[in-house]
Symmetry: none
Subunit: 187 residues, 4 copies
Amino acid sequence: MKKDEQIIQTALKLFVDNGFHGTATSKIAQESGVANGTLFNYFATKEILIVSIHNSITKKMDDFIMESLGTKSVSKESFRKLFLASLDWNLNNRLEFQYLQQFNSSPYSKSLMARILNINEHPLYVLIKNGIDLVLLKPMPPALIFSLFTSQVNGLFYYLIANETSVENTKNLTEQTFDLFWNMIED
Amino acid sequence: MKKDEQIIQTALKLFVDNGFHGTATSKIAQESGVANGTLFNYFATKEILIVSIHNSITKKMDDFIMESLGTKSVSKESFRKLFLASLDWNLNNRLEFQYLQQFNSSPYSKSLMARILNINEHPLYVLIKNGIDLVLLKPMPPALIFSLFTSQVNGLFYYLIANETSVENTKNLTEQTFDLFWNMIED
Amino acid sequence: MKKDEQIIQTALKLFVDNGFHGTATSKIAQESGVANGTLFNYFATKEILIVSIHNSITKKMDDFIMESLGTKSVSKESFRKLFLASLDWNLNNRLEFQYLQQFNSSPYSKSLMARILNINEHPLYVLIKNGIDLVLLKPMPPALIFSLFTSQVNGLFYYLIANETSVENTKNLTEQTFDLFWNMIED
Amino acid sequence: MKKDEQIIQTALKLFVDNGFHGTATSKIAQESGVANGTLFNYFATKEILIVSIHNSITKKMDDFIMESLGTKSVSKESFRKLFLASLDWNLNNRLEFQYLQQFNSSPYSKSLMARILNINEHPLYVLIKNGIDLVLLKPMPPALIFSLFTSQVNGLFYYLIANETSVENTKNLTEQTFDLFWNMIED
DNA sequence: GATGAATGAGCATTCATTCAT
DNA sequence: GATGAATGAATGCTCATTCAT
């Protein structure tokens, strides 16, 4: 692994465990196997490191979800794929999930360097907008449906991690929860 | 206002604006109109102050929601009241909402002194459980419905604060969103 | 017990256990059963309290030794009585002994308020001086004999507290050690 | 001089002059010609610095005395060499002597990091024990003779610093005082 | 590019002392 | 005389950042 990636991975874990303030850059350098000063050759300041981790995570997450979506046809199946992919990513990247939570509720989230996710270009948003236009979905503000979609995924995710269950059961609950959601928004 | 309450209010605002680390205790004392040392007569450490603010907020929130609920009859109306009260509280106490978000994704949330909310005794959870028993709600894990309820409120809340709209419109969207949710979970 | 005496006794123990710096005036007040501010009605500053304790101890010690001496006739018996009394006081007032050690090796010992023991007026010094004049003792500087006397007592004392032994044995060792010392200084 | 040694020397002087509490670490750093934080790169806490100084002093003192002793033959000459070396060290290292006094009557002396001087292995103790076995010394507890030896050295030392005198005279008094002591303990 | 010793601003916390009640 | 809340100067220690090697 390249050094910058190594540093990001180490820092990610330490930040989630001990918070931004609770993690000294010297500790990150040490656990990354580099010298104190070396860290600053890759990330000029601690804040830049923190934001870089955020950007790295969101990029990977977006890539994963986009790839999972495949074709962008407007259909229940597309929504279903997005729902499953989002949940899967959360379940398989819990450290990253926690990091994003922590980052978003910290003052760093106001940093100008943070990747800005323009909701209008988000594939889910586009899908919803088209769905409404095609009278496949209820005539509601697309941003509201977008927000409810995200929340529903999170709601299920929180339940699943608080009540660890079998893979099979997880799958069933996921399908069931998606169906509930779909019935809620389809016209 | 009593001094401890004054300190809590000042700290709440500063913590939300600048983060826990970004807010010096001396700054809190100064803006609270007390001397540096006085703050520590009321809250022995910064961590205790941070946890105390959390406990103060959750207590007020719980009280508000419980009062809004009134009778605990198992009915759509009760769920509606809880939905509206939760959203209202979020909308009218944004600083406190942000504080809770920040606190929950910080290492302080693991503090032993933090009020522990036992989900089994939460009025919403009880309502859901009874609703399932009475075949008013779909036969799903009550904790999942609980989680989806909370998420739906948050989903709507995020939409509303990102798209400020008239009080009238807010009210309509809220009723509409609750109805969607209700249709989703009723048997 | 009067309040000032009560405070002195409490402070004495706390200072020996935790050092001057390690003992907060508030702690002394608390353990003395008085309020924070009350302590300062009796001792205007912490330093005054520290010096007062020193003076109180040295006065009591001097009184005890003087009383033990009785007649001031220049004789082996007088030296013996002083030797025994000094040792006894150390053995029976270990807290006070430790306090004096700590005080004397602290910057407080330079305080102008500390009782000054003018060696020339010290009964032991007078005794020694007269002993030399009467050719009872070796012709050495009296201050040197004084210092050796004190050191011999301390040397025995340190041995006794490091090797707790029976009262009988303690007595025997004391007499034996004094005899050694006497043989050393008698002409 | 290496930086840690420089810091130790500076701190030694300041601690003796102003006490442990009366000496701020920032003052030590400043007078050592290093930055505040640098001090803590060498000594993680103030307490560690204090104990390190103690250990440094006792090591140097032990080395000096051991070297002065030379052969360990059991003879009056060996005791004489130890007596002279101990006194010399005290006279030539007064700051260090005062430091040890202050340290030993402070709570820091209970620190686990402090060098433990096991009396049984002390060269003087061994010498005394062998001297008794060989019927060179009086049949007394060796630890008592040890203690009296040390006290006699201190007693003379206190006299000498209170009554500064010529080198010649100091030498004479020392030899004389040792002879007195030797007569006291020899069988 | 890598190192790690050095830096010094910054902060949480302590505590002797004051004074209004 | 007693109280104890309030004070604020003082200090040990941390840690992001620099830079000479």
